[in-house]
């Protein structure tokens, strides 16, 4: 069965320091994995996606994530946090439904706080 676990409900960093948001997944087949960001009172925005191409995926706003099959992980990183990065981040794994259509399984979310 497909599932995703976000290991930290809250992460706090200082502006300019690295960000690490952890995500582990469980999948019975090679999954697609996504990271979405949700700013307060805003919609969901796709940060990046892994779909069995390169294991290191670069996304928007300087974020990247590395797919590690041996560790079943897909951690999100950014070298230097910015105040505008403060938001809720969701790790998402797909469950195959039919050709070109999957169901999304959301993690519980990680709230990132960035202090000046």
């Amino acid at each position: 069965a497909q599932s995703v676990t976000q290991l930290d409900s809250h992460v706090s960093v200082s502006e300019g320091t690295p960000v690490l948001l952890r995500c582990n997944y469980s999948s019975s087949y090679s999954p697609s994995l996504f990271w979405y960001v949700q700013h307060p009172n805003k919609g969901l925005q796709l940060l990046l996606k892994y779909t069995s191409a390169a294991t290191l995926v670069k996304g928007i706003n300087g974020f990247e994530a590395e797919f590690k099959k041996s560790e079943t992980s897909f951690h999100l990183t950014k070298p230097s946090a910015h105040m505008s990065d403060a938001a809720e981040y969701f790790c998402v794994v797909t469950l195959f439904l039919s050709y070109n259509t999957d169901k999304l399984i959301f993690g519980t979310g990680t709230r990132l706080q960035v202090f000046p």
């Binding site: 996504f34 919609g43 969901l44 259509t101 999304l104 959301f106 519980t108 979310g109």
Partner: protein
């Protein structure tokens, strides 16, 4: 990627009433998905809506409470019926595929 227009963006409703949420997509899509995000929580899939057939509901969600219409490949509605304060949530629609998923801006529902 597709662009979704969702409305209303928010509403305050009396308990016992119903609210219908609409999602319009700027391109034809096979499946549309409806999610609920309770306060401070993650997203939970309510149902998958395929054009021309009945929606498929996830465990814990039933058609009588959350009827869905999917009259064509660009439009869907979700109705929250006989509302109670426990239904206060953000409701979102979504479309997409392995390339990624786009979400509507959400409907923030408060039941009083």
């Amino acid at each position: 990627s597709a662009v979704i227009s969702q409305k209303p963006s928010r509403d305050i409703c009396q308990r016992g009433t119903s609210l219908t949420i609409q999602c319009q997509v700027d391109s034809q899509v096979t499946m549309m998905f409806w999610y609920r995000q309770q306060p401070g929580q993650s997203l939970t899939l309510i149902a998958t809506a395929n054009q021309g057939s009945e929606a498929t509901y996830e465990s814990g969600f039933v058609i009588d409470k959350f009827p869905i219409s999917r009259p064509n490949l660009t439009f869907s509605t979700l109705t929250v019926s006989n509302m109670s304060p426990e239904d206060s949530s953000i409701y979102l629609c979504s479309v997409g595929g392995s390339y990624g998923y786009t979400f509507g801006s959400g409907t923030r529902l408060t039941v009083v």
